[in-house]
């Protein structure tokens, strides 16, 4: 994974609440067996409107999306994260995210920045005309107008993002600890350790 340090540029002032992953990428786009090319299906229903933000000359290709509460709720489809990436979006700012979506975003190097509604309102205003900068190291969102909003991020996620670390590789290195657990579990709860081999 590529390291992520900063996301800067125009931010799409979307603002909508409870955006579910069916809205981000409808189910008929899930039939792919690769991660690529899902940008075409991203926000498909909304983009039927010729005046939609995502295809407007001003916001097309913008790296940041500003949304309302509970962004990414619903289905666990990681295709939602892949679709955003393919659209060029590498950061989403919202008052809250669904747990599954924020995990999927993180694993694909998309920053999910949680800010209070008042900060969101201000950024929505700025985004109409000017760029926004998210700096991961300092955990801040800034604008050309001296706005500066701090955000929280899980230290482990921050470390992985800044260094572009592969989580599967990190965990595989803990193989001995996993084996120890398996040995213990085979003694304590043998019915769980017992598999259903092919």
């Amino acid at each position: 994974m590529e390291p992520v340090k900063e996301v800067a540029g125009r931010a799409i002032p979307f603002g909508r609440k409870n955006v579910d992953t069916d809205v981000i990428i409808p189910a008929h786009w899930l039939k792919t067996i690769t991660r690529d090319g899902l940008g075409r299906g991203a926000f498909e229903a909304l983009r039927q409107d010729p005046d939609n933000l995502f295809d407007s000359p001003e916001f097309k290709g913008s790296p940041i999306l500003i949304a309302g509460d509970n962004f990414g709720c619903g289905s666990s489809r990681e295709h939602a994260a892949w679709a955003l990436l393919d659209l060029g979006i590498t950061a989403v700012i919202a008052p809250s995210f669904s747990d599954i979506f924020s995990g999927n975003a993180f694993k694909n190097g998309i920053l999910t920045v949680v800010l209070p509604q008042a900060a969101i309102d201000r950024l929505m205003e700025v985004a109409q005309t000017d760029p926004v900068t998210i700096d991961l190291e300092s955990q801040t969102v800034t604008t050309p107008f001296q706005d500066r909003f701090s955000f929280e991020i899980d230290p482990f996620r921050k470390h992985c993002l800044l260094n572009g670390l592969d989580e599967v590789g990190l965990t595989l290195a803990r193989g001995d600890a996993i084996s120890d657990y398996e040995n213990k579990s085979a003694g304590e709860t043998p019915w769980l350790a017992k598999g259903v081999a092919a």
């Binding site: 409808p26 067996i33 995990g103 694909n108 769980l192 598999g195 081999a197």
Partner: protein, 500 residues
């Protein structure tokens, strides 16, 4: 993660010491106990490496995970703890011709995804329940039915309705494809423990009120994000009184209020359901397992971070009017006006929902005509659900304005049992189609779709925009309510059909 293995081990030892010192005294919830039993390692920031006991794999969210494993030359750590079942893309029409030959799947992309699972499972040594097997069905129906899903287990699947298995008292949750890959490669996940919420439903459920109405009501009370950051334990006499199937229905929709997982403590109902299932423990091991399952119940005095108490008497047969599962009203109610919500963004969302749904404020739900009825999905496709629907339909006919009504059993075994009980005849004689098992019109990835602008009374779990097909208008209801809508042609209070 950069720490040397020695430091990692030391931290793990410290954590183990700390836990053993505290656990004996601190009362714990069911969730705490399952979590603690699955910690492989605890990092100093609170992140834990959690062992996964059971991994269900289907065709939609796994191809990219297997592809990444192949590219990195990685193996599946515990193929024996993994079970692959195709469900999302499968057509629900006949799959074999008279000669027993497979009927090709018309959609090339669906066919490709199904073929990928059929290739990947054997290549990585994973057991596959294929489309020709009588055990095939929706993963969340198959897991409990086969005894693959067990109380106290950690269960994951690349599907948000994995929360379903919490009805057995398993810690079960949906994951994304990168996490599917992580579990395949390591049999673990890196997680932070969620907060504990108790949703207690006390009292006796009224006539015609089902598990689906209970969980729809909870969705209305908590809202679509009210459970975000929590694992919810459903407790109280109304929950205890539910059958195991009903408990799976409730826990299934935990994700619809944003919760990571739902849980219902295992009890005699759970044990009776599991005993004798193909993969359930047997003999002496069964007795040990039951003793362990009993010990998982939340300790008296354990602290929940949040408690919500619901009076069962407040729950009536329910229906959704909007495009979020939180948009719930009693069937006796009316479509709300956007102004009735205090939150301005909810007012806007409600207006958009009403436009999409083609409803007007003040309209009585019971006057809303439906053109489609879908009885199925991981929420409501078990034998009890089909019995409830058949009981309403028996001796009646599908209304003329209902263009399309289908019953999609959750698995081949549910289908077989329903046929043994003659339920299929009741549906077919009423003009309702009897299909092969799968996810079907819940999310319309296969050919089963609701046309744009038409309404569907659906026993599924999501009424999102376009969920059942582009432009489709979904009203979530219980199986009995869906059956009532099928025979009257409009959303109907099922109690009017059954009380006489």
């Amino acid at each position: 993660m950069q720490a040397s293995p020695e430091i990692g081990q030391w931290l793990a030892n410290c954590a183990a010491l700390w836990l053993s010192a505290h656990m004996a005294h601190t009362p714990r919830t069911l969730y705490d106990k399952i979590w603690d039993a699955h910690v492989v390692e605890r990092r100093d920031d609170g992140t834990c490496l959690i062992y996964i006991d059971r991994h269900l794999v289907h065709e939609v969210t796994s191809p990219q995970a297997f592809e990444s494993l192949r590219a990195a030359g990685r193996k599946v750590r515990r193929p024996d703890l993994t079970l692959a079942v195709p469900d999302h893309n499968l057509p629900t029409t006949a799959r074999r011709d008279a000669a027993g030959q497979r009927i090709p799947i018309a959609d090339p992309e669906s066919a490709q995804q199904l073929a990928a699972l059929e290739r990947n499972a054997p290549e990585f040594g994973i057991r596959l329940i294929g489309d020709a097997d009588v055990e095939q069905g929706i993963v969340h129906v198959v897991g409990p039915e086969q005894g693959f899903s067990l109380p106290g287990a950690t269960i994951v699947c690349g599907d948000s309705h994995t929360a379903c298995h919490g009805g057995l008292g398993a810690l079960a949750f949906g994951i994304g494809t990168s996490e599917v890959e992580h579990v395949l490669a390591t049999q673990t996940l890196l997680l932070k423990q969620s907060k504990n919420m108790e949703v207690r439903v006390e009292g006796e459920l009224g006539a015609g009120v089902t598990a689906k109405d209970v969980v729809l009501h909870i969705c209305g009370v908590l809202g679509a994000s009210g459970g975000t950051g929590y694992v919810i334990e459903y407790t109280g006499s109304a929950i205890r009184s539910l059958s195991l199937e009903g408990r799976l229905t409730v826990s299934n929709m935990a994700i619809e209020h944003g919760a990571r997982a739902g849980l219902i403590a295992p009890d005699e109902t759970t044990f009776a359901y599991l005993k004798g299932r193909p993969f359930a423990p047997k003999g002496e091991e069964w007795d040990k397992a039951v003793a362990w399952w009993r010990s998982l119940a939340t300790d008296p005095g354990a602290k929940y971070d949040k408690v919500v108490v619901i009076d069962a008497a407040d729950i009536v047969p329910s229906v959704t009017w909007g495009t979020s599962p939180e948009d719930v009203v009693p069937i006796t109610g009316v479509v709300p006006a956007p102004e009735s919500f205090t939150d301005p963004s909810k007012q806007q969302a409600a207006q958009k929902s009403l436009d999409y749904m083609g409803l007007t404020p003040g309209q009585r739900l019971e006057e809303v005509e439906v053109q489609n009825v879908f009885i199925g999905s991981c929420t409501n496709s078990r034998i009890e659900d089909l019995r409830a629907a058949a009981a309403v339909i028996k001796g009646r006919k599908k209304a003329d304005n209902v263009r399309w009504a289908i019953v999609v059993p959750g698995s081949g075994l549910v289908k077989r049992q329903a046929e043994e009980e003659g339920l299929d005849r009741i549906f077919i004689e009423a003009g309702i189609e009897w299909r092969e098992p799968g996810c079907s019109a819940c999310l319309a990835m296969n050919p089963d779709k609701v046309p744009a602008g038409e309404r569907c009374a659906s026993t599924s779990n999501r009424n999102f925009v376009g969920r059942q097909g582009p432009g489709a208008r979904t009203h979530l209801v219980s199986p009995a309510m869906a059956a009532a809508a099928a025979v009257t042609g409009k959303l109907t209070d099922v109690r009017k059909l059954t009380s006489a």
